[in-house]
Amino acid sequence: MSHPAHTVAFRATGVDMFFGTPENRVVALKQADFEARRGELIMLVGPSGCGKTTLLSVIAGTLTPQAGTVEVFGQRLDGLGQEALTTFRRRSLGFVFQSFNLIPTLTVVENVMVPLLIQGRPFDEAHARALAILDKVGLKGREEGRPNALSGGQQQRVAIARALVHEPPLLICDEPTSALDKDTGAQIMQMVRDLSRSPERCVVVVTHDHRIFRFADRIAEMEDGRISRVVDDPKLLDTTHL
């Protein structure tokens, strides 16, 4: 099911990942293959402990696999040192976390500025770009407030704004709707889906929330450390064990 190279956003091939000592080894990924196309929103689903988070971490370059290759927008990650991986994450990735991870002592706009400031952008430029993207996600007027003063949906919008402010090609969302109610979750996913519609972008979402499966272009199901199948239609999934 391999796609032409110019259409591939990321590709993980034959990835092995295990933790612990050789005597007490826990296998997290076993010859896992996973691929996504540009302009696609792909979801990664599966029961707890099947290796979703590990695979996501490998693609994000926060974990280095023991075997296999990982390529993200044409850049091979396997073999890169920590510094190069850090640079890769800084330039190429945007993160939306399950618990938002917004810094409570900073204002909304300051939280959104973080990725730009990590890149070394001037403060004023970062501020202007953060304001612009907050406007886009519908948070104009809330810029100077603290994240804790916002609703869950608004906080997730801030997180999305933070993930996108530096225009990364790959957006990684880890359980983005788990802390949100159904309607808010649907709004957030619609926004994420709209953002994925660019040939220079790809969105991968790890989720247990079957209510949002309809927003996916494709859904990859994981089982025992590998992708067991990829479907285009959520109805084809058996969600009883998710």
Binding site: T53, L56, S57, A60, T62, L63, E83, T86, T87, F88, R89, R90, R91, L93, F95, F97, Q98, S99, N101, I103, P104, T105, L106, T107, E110, M113, V114, P115, L117, I118, Q119, F123, D174, E175, V206
Partner: protein, 396 residues
């Protein structure tokens, strides 16, 4: 990122307040205790401040100014004959008991100065004239002594009342009358006894039985002769010990009697150990409180630092953020602590007790130690953050 690092620090006001309290308390303790220590130590060479002369000559065995070993009166002539000496005057210092009119006894520092030149006389007289010392049985008492030796009585409100000695009052030294003709303003001495000035010849009378009464010689160099150079000449020609009157204790050198006195007390008493313990306590309290609070601040923000790491910030950036936070807190804490120490010092100086001398070096040392505390706190935080796996942000 550093601006955001500061906003993170200032955003958590409760933690910041705790952090600043620890640092400020530490700075206060270190600066205040050091200043009191140097204040007390500055009293050890008080005679050098109160009795002004460019060169002091003593017995060769003298180690410090409070330990005079009597000289022969003929030594004065020998010193006067040294090339480069403009003049030399005798000085007597001793601790004697003075009996007040109410029968009470007080230990005093008796200072006998040359009646012709008044060399070594107090610089400031708040009452009386120095020339009146030439009158029979006369003394000049310092303000502190006048109050200390004052008359106790019962005031109209029934409370004890102290009436300081005045010009015209009398007391006795070795059963010889001493009539006060002046009140002077001098620095207090380590021994606590008041300074009582009289003439050198009269001091001989007050110290009946003492075979030798010449404690020191006060010497003025001729124009163009440096005090240190004259000291060399006096020592070479007389075998006596000559000292400069330099009271800057920070510089090194063998010639300064004040500096030798300072270091004599430093090495022969438990004062530095006592105050050093208090300063160390301040340092440890600072490290404990600030380190713990900053560590707690880092722990609370750990998942955010992990997120920042995941977003692509290297440990270098995060370490610098933590240093900025720790050093900013250190700077503010130092400012508060040093400011409080200054305020307390002002009150102490006004009251005169305990002595308080805040050298710039004390502030610099306190500043360095507070920054050291901040550095340790930051390093503890950096170690913690460096051990956080960026992948942990995906674990909920």
């Amino acid at each position: 990122m550093y601006r955001l690092a500061l906003n993170m620090l200032f955003g958590d006001r409760a933690k910041l307040a705790m952090l600043l309290c620890g640092l400020a308390f530490s700075a206060l303790l270190m600066a205040q205790q050091s200043s009191v220590f140097f204040g007390i130590m500055s009293w050890t060479y008080t005679p050098m401040v109160n009795i002004r002369a460019q060169v002091w000559v003593s017995d060769p065995m003298v180690e410090q100014v409070n330990d005079a070993k009597p000289l022969r009166d003929t030594d004065l002539g020998r010193v006067r004959s040294v090339d480069g000496v403009a003049w030399a005057a005798p000085l007597h210092t001793s601790f004697v008991q003075a009996r007040m009119q109410d029968g009470n006894f007080k230990l005093i520092t008796l200072v006998g100065i040359d009646a012709d030149t008044f060399a070594g006389a107090p610089a400031v007289l708040s009452q009386g004239r120095i020339e009146d010392l030439r009158l029979p049985d006369t003394v000049i008492v310092d303000e502190w002594g006048a109050a200390l030796m004052g008359r106790m009585s019962v005031g109209p409100d029934g409370k004890p009342k102290n009436t300081p000695l005045q010009v015209g009052d009398t007391f006795e030294i070795n059963d010889i009358q001493a009539r006060i003709v002046g009140i002077c303003r001098v620095k207090r001495a380590f021994t606590g006894g008041p300074f009582v000035y009289t003439t050198y010849d009269r001091a001989k009378g007050y110290t009946l039985g003492a075979r030798r009464t010449l404690s020191f010689m006060l010497v003025e160099p001729q124009k163009g002769v440096a005090p240190a150079e004259l000291c060399d000449r006096i020592e070479r020609d007389t075998d006596l010990k000559a000292w400069t009157s330099d009271t800057v204790i920070w510089s090194w050198g063998e010639r300064s009697l004040a500096r030798n006195t300072f270091w004599w007390f430093w090495t022969n008493t438990g004062i530095p150990f006592s105050f050093g313990t208090a300063v160390l306590l301040g340092l440890f309290v600072g490290i404990a409180i600030s380190g713990q609070t900053f560590y707690s601040f880092v722990l609370e923000n750990l998942k955010y630092f992990a997120a920042i790491k995941a977003m692509g910030a290297g440990m270098g950036v995060i370490a610098r953020m933590l240093f900025v936070q720790a050093f900013t807190a250190g700077l503010i804490g130092f400012g508060l602590g040093a400011g409080m120490a200054q305020a307390i010092g002002r009150v102490m100086i006004e009251k005169g007790m305990p002595p308080f001398v805040m050298y710039p070096q004390i502030l610099w040392a306190t500043f360095a130690l507070v920054l050291g505390i901040s550095f340790v706190s930051a390093v503890i935080g950096i170690i913690k953050v460096s051990r956080v796996d960026a992948a942990s942000v995906f674990r909920g």
